[in-house]
């Protein structure tokens, strides 16, 4: 077990996967809407294709965040998990990073869902 917890196999990048996915989702949604309305929207200003695209981005983003979050949660629960993960051991460092990853995944998922809710209420480019 110690080997799998070696420092070299840990990475801070995994911590920020979920918020990065949120950022990508957000940027993609915004850019899609902006380009559609500036360049391709019909005279009616309908954004129907944009809504479908954002819905698709949302499903993909939630899947990625869910995977990352689940991954983090499992690391958090490694062995006899007890918050606040503050021991000077590789196990607790591993659990802490997992815990923070899981929390960030939760926040990112909420932020993605908030953004996706916009799609429900807007029909056109105004």
């Amino acid at each position: 077990m110690m080997k799998s917890l070696s420092e070299n196999r840990e990475s801070l990048w995994r911590l920020i996967v979920s918020p990065s996915v949120w950022a990508l989702h957000f940027l993609a949604s915004y850019v899609t809407a902006a380009i559609w309305c500036a360049k391709f929207a019909p005279a009616s200003g309908s954004i129907a294709p944009v809504r479908w695209l954002i819905a698709a981005y949302t499903v993909a983003a939630l899947l990625a965040i869910g995977w990352n979050g689940w991954n983090g949660y499992r690391r958090h629960r490694l062995g006899a998990a007890e918050l606040p993960h503050d021991a000077d051991t590789p196990e607790d460092r591993h659990r802490f990073l997992g815990f923070a990853t899981a929390l960030l995944a939760g926040l990112s998922a909420i932020a993605v869902i908030f953004a996706a809710m916009a799609v429900v209420y807007f029909q056109d480019c105004r």
């Binding site: 420092e7 918020p19 950022a23 902006a34 500036a38 360049k39 954004i47 503050d86 000077d88 953004a115």
Partner: protein, 847 residues
């Protein structure tokens, strides 16, 4: 608490007393601050950090005086205390000073003082860089503040919207703002690089990522945000200055530009900036609350979530400053959503503090008073923030005094109160004296009452229809009483600030020293004996816990007696430890440079470039820039990558560490990569500008400019630069194998190819006759090409430097920091070049 089984433990016996004294002497000598006028050559974090903080605080007072002028003018309707033009300068400078000369610098300066202490390090990894940042800051700050005395200050508002600032304000003020703040932002980025590397690589052994003091997490996040937030503003400022000085039409709609691009770039900086201010301030609270609750923070992981989460989400808010610019509803909605979501991590942090208070035994104290007052104020600002984040409500509230009220609740509650709390809390660490409890309490109530009296009515002033930034208003509109109350409140607030300022500067000679660790805190910054020594920490401890002073037995004794790492300075050199990112395993004993005037000289000569540029004196400005390059060259030559007299060194507890490491193992390499990341973000902002123009034009590139810069020259440039990059890699390899001939050939070849590549990228738009003043399309193509050429030219400087270093014997096969850093730089050059070519030559083909 639970030390790892294989953790080294301090020896059980006391080292001989004479040895301890001798070690202390040597440490003291190595870390001695220079005396007399040479004092100003100090680079130690405890000196530079204090100057930095004090200067930022002076700018704060200056901005405060301007605020009082504003309030006097608005006290009664139709007032003529200030003329319209003067008033516009005053509010512009007030906002700019508070943001750029107080809020951001003070976060970095406080971190410069305390980050090393919290991390048990003797200093930050690049002390001279901090000093350089400080001198840039002083110079730029004085230049900007002084302008108002000559009626020459910027008057475009602190967000400087063109076309007002591009065509309608001809004076020198706007140039001063654009160039002066770009200069200061560069210094801020330098400090951010230092704080990031400091947090990641200079922790005490054993301080794993789950044991870092929360303050450091916050600073890490805020500094990382600086890297992504400031470059868009620097890019924007560059566009605006190019328009002002050379008539490149980036924001001129007549020639294809668009004023909205500035707003995107500005707020892409401006909103994260609010959190860059807020996070490090709340970080102070995260240190104060556990101390006065006398227990570890509850929800450490949650706070990390909040800090990192806020850092990300804050980049999805910028359009909420543009809710009334007529963007599509769906876009507004997306930003509305992110603006609401960011309230969640903020709430989490506040509840972590409440939970800690609930679980602890609270000790009443002045810092705690300011903490609670700050939180109460900030929560109100946060709640109005939730309101304005709703686009529908913002349609009314935007650009009114409601927003003025909101932003002051957030910034004063979320930043000024915590910083004053920090003053009262940390002050003993500066000179062993405490600030006055009595004055602190009086000031607190004045501040709280004055603040609310000033800003609470403004919510109504705004919703009753008073726009912000008006120099006067007619009587009888319902603004009169509200404004008068605000003015009275502002003077109470000012009185409170004056008392705090007096408490800080009043002589404390006769006041007794406080006992060591006066608040009985648990974190490392409270290790020093009173008054503190300039070496920082007597020996660098092995950490087993989040609150070592509470939880590690005999901890202070072991540190004091030098039972931990680096208890000595045998060679009389300044040294600190470098450790690994995740688990803080020691990897290197880092030699730090001592006092020097070179950073100040570099700042002055670089500042000369920006200041002379303000007055369009381009030739002297370029001369100043060349001098700056020369000074920096000298600085690097003598002060960095020095080959040590021995390869490694015993640092105590049976550990021997190398004195020289290069590539990803060295802190310098990290600094280059992180800096270049920021530069790359600025480049991405320019690419964004290109595609932004594409979206707003039906025809982009416009029909008149068939083919733009063509395909041939850009592709030739890309090829040449790729070859230069490959040769740079080859040079690194040849150097490692100690093949002097191949190295020289490769590096000279790389430099020549790079020069040719830089010329080729410019030849594209030059030979196709693109005129950057005619339309925004040629302008943006030229800018991308120039940006790339500038990278190539800087890359050639790197080549020349490496060549000279090797020739001088300062770089060898094993000691190859310079070429490693050059390669890191060249990775970014090639990335930039390839993207530029793909955009300027490739995109017109796709279209």
């Amino acid at each position: 608490m639970n030390p790892a089984p294989n953790d080294p433990e301090p020896p059980a016996h006391t080292p001989p007393l004479e040895l301890q004294r001798a070690q202390e002497d040597r440490l003291r000598r190595a870390w001695q601050k220079p005396a007399g006028w040479r004092y100003w050559s100090a680079v130690n974090n405890t000196e530079v950090g204090v100057w930095y903080t004090a200067t930022a605080f002076l700018f704060f007072l200056f901005g405060g005086v301007l605020a009082l002028l504003i309030r006097i003018q608005l006290a009664v309707p139709d007032n003529d205390f200030l003329s319209a033009d003067r008033y516009n300068q005053v509010f512009t400078v007030h906002g700019s000073v508070m943001m750029f000369l107080f809020a951001i610098p003070v976060f970095e300066s406080i971190a410069v003082i305390f980050l090393p202490q919290m991390l048990g390090a003797r200093d930050l990894p690049f002390p001279r860089l901090s000093a350089f940042g400080y001198w840039c800051f002083v110079l730029g700050g004085i230049f900007l503040c002084g302008s108002i005395l000559f009626d020459a200050a910027p008057r475009g508002g602190w967000f400087m919207y063109p076309p007002l600032t591009s065509k309608y304000q001809p004076g020198v003020g706007a140039d001063m703002w654009l160039l002066g703040f770009s200069f200061i932002e560069i210094a801020a980025i330098a400090a951010a690089v230092e704080l990031i590397v400091g947090t990641l690589k200079c922790r005490p052994p054993g301080m794993r990522i789950n044991l870092i003091p929360l303050y450091c997490w916050y600073v890490l996040v805020a500094a990382a945000m600086v890297l992504f937030a400031f470059p868009p503003l620097i890019a924007g400022s560059m566009l605006l200055e190019l328009e002002r000085a050379f008539h490149w039409p980036f924001f001129d709609p007549v020639r294809g530009g668009d004023p909205l691009l500035w707003q995107h770039l500005f707020w892409l900086f401006g909103h994260p900036e609010v959190y860059i201010i807020f996070l490090p301030s709340i970080a102070i609270i995260a240190m104060i609350v556990p101390t006065f609750a006398q227990r570890p923070i509850v929800g450490y992981g949650w706070i990390v979530l909040a800090a990192v989460g806020t850092g990300f989400l804050s980049f999805g808010l910028w359009v909420h400053h543009m809710f009334t610019t007529g963007l599509p509803g769906i876009s507004l909605a997306l930003f509305s959503a992110a603006s609401e979501a960011v309230a969640i991590p903020t709430g989490v942090q506040i509840f972590c503090f409440i939970a800690t208070i609930a679980a602890g035994r609270m000790v009443r104290s002045v810092p705690m008073l300011y903490t609670l007052g700050g939180l109460a104020t900030f929560i109100l600002g946060g709640l109005t923030g939730v309101m304005v984040a709703l686009a529908s409500f913002d349609f009314q509230a935007h650009d009114t005094f409601f927003v003025v009220a909101h932003l002051h609740y957030v910034l004063i509650g979320g930043s000024v109160f915590p910083i004053i709390a920090g003053c009262y809390y940390f002050f003993p660490l500066l000179n062993g004296k405490k600030l006055s409890d009595r004055l602190g309490r009086i000031a607190f109530w004045l501040l709280l009452a004055g603040f609310n009296l000033t800003f609470l009515p403004m919510h109504f002033t705004g919703l009753r229809g008073m726009p912000r930034r008006v120099f006067t208003y007619p009587a009888g509109m319902g603004f009169d009483l509200l404004n008068l109350v605000s003015t009275i409140g502002a003077f109470l607030l000012g009185a409170g600030v004056a008392i705090v300022a007096w408490d800080i500067i009043r002589p404390k000679k006769r006041q007794p020293l406080v006992p060591r660790n006066p608040w009985r805190a648990g974190t490392l910054e409270w290790l020093p004996a009173m008054p503190p020594e300039s070496w920082g920490v007597r020996s660098i401890p092995e950490i087993d816990s989040r609150y070592p002073l509470w939880e590690q037995p005999n901890f202070v004794r072991d540190v004091d007696e030098g039972r931990f790492y680096l208890p000595d300075a045998e060679e009389g050199k300044r040294e600190t430890l470098v450790t690994s990112v995740i688990d803080a395993t020691p990897t290197q004993c880092l030699r730090l440079p001592g006092p020097s005037f070179v950073p100040a000289l570099a700042a002055v000569s670089l500042g000369g470039f920006f200041i002379l540029g303000t007055f369009y004196l381009w030739i002297p400005a370029l001369v100043s820039l060349v001098i700056a390059i020369g000074v920096i060259w000298r600085w690097l030559w003598n002060g960095t990558a020095v080959i040590p007299e021995k390869p490694e060194k015993e640092i105590g507890l049976g550990l021997t560490l190398p004195l020289y490491r290069s590539g990803p193992e060295s802190v310098g390499w990290w600094a280059v990569v992180i800096t270049m990341l920021a530069v790359f973000v600025a480049f991405v902002s320019l690419v964004f500008a290109y595609f932004f123009y594409w979206t707003i034009h039906d025809d982009f590139p416009p029909a008149g400019s068939q083919g733009g810069p063509g395909v041939f020259w850009p592709c030739l440039a890309a090829t040449l630069l790729l070859a230069a990059w490959a040769l740079t890699l080859l040079a690194r390899r040849a150097n490692r194998r100690d093949r002097a001939g191949v190295f020289s050939l490769a590096i000279i070849g790389a430099a020549l190819l790079a020069l040719a590549g830089g010329a080729a990228i410019l030849a594209g738009p030059w030979l196709t006759g693109l005129d950057p003043t005619s339309h925004v399309y040629p302008a943006i193509v030229w800018l991308l090409a120039l940006w790339t050429a500038l990278h190539a030219a800087t890359g050639v400087l790197f080549h020349a430097y490496c060549f000279a270093r090797r020739a001088a014997g300062r770089m060898t096969a094993r000691h190859d920091i310079d070429i490693q850093n050059a390669v890191a730089f060249w990775h970014f050059v090639i990335l930039t070049a390839v993207i530029t070519v793909a955009v300027i030559a490739g995109f017109p083909l796709v279209k």
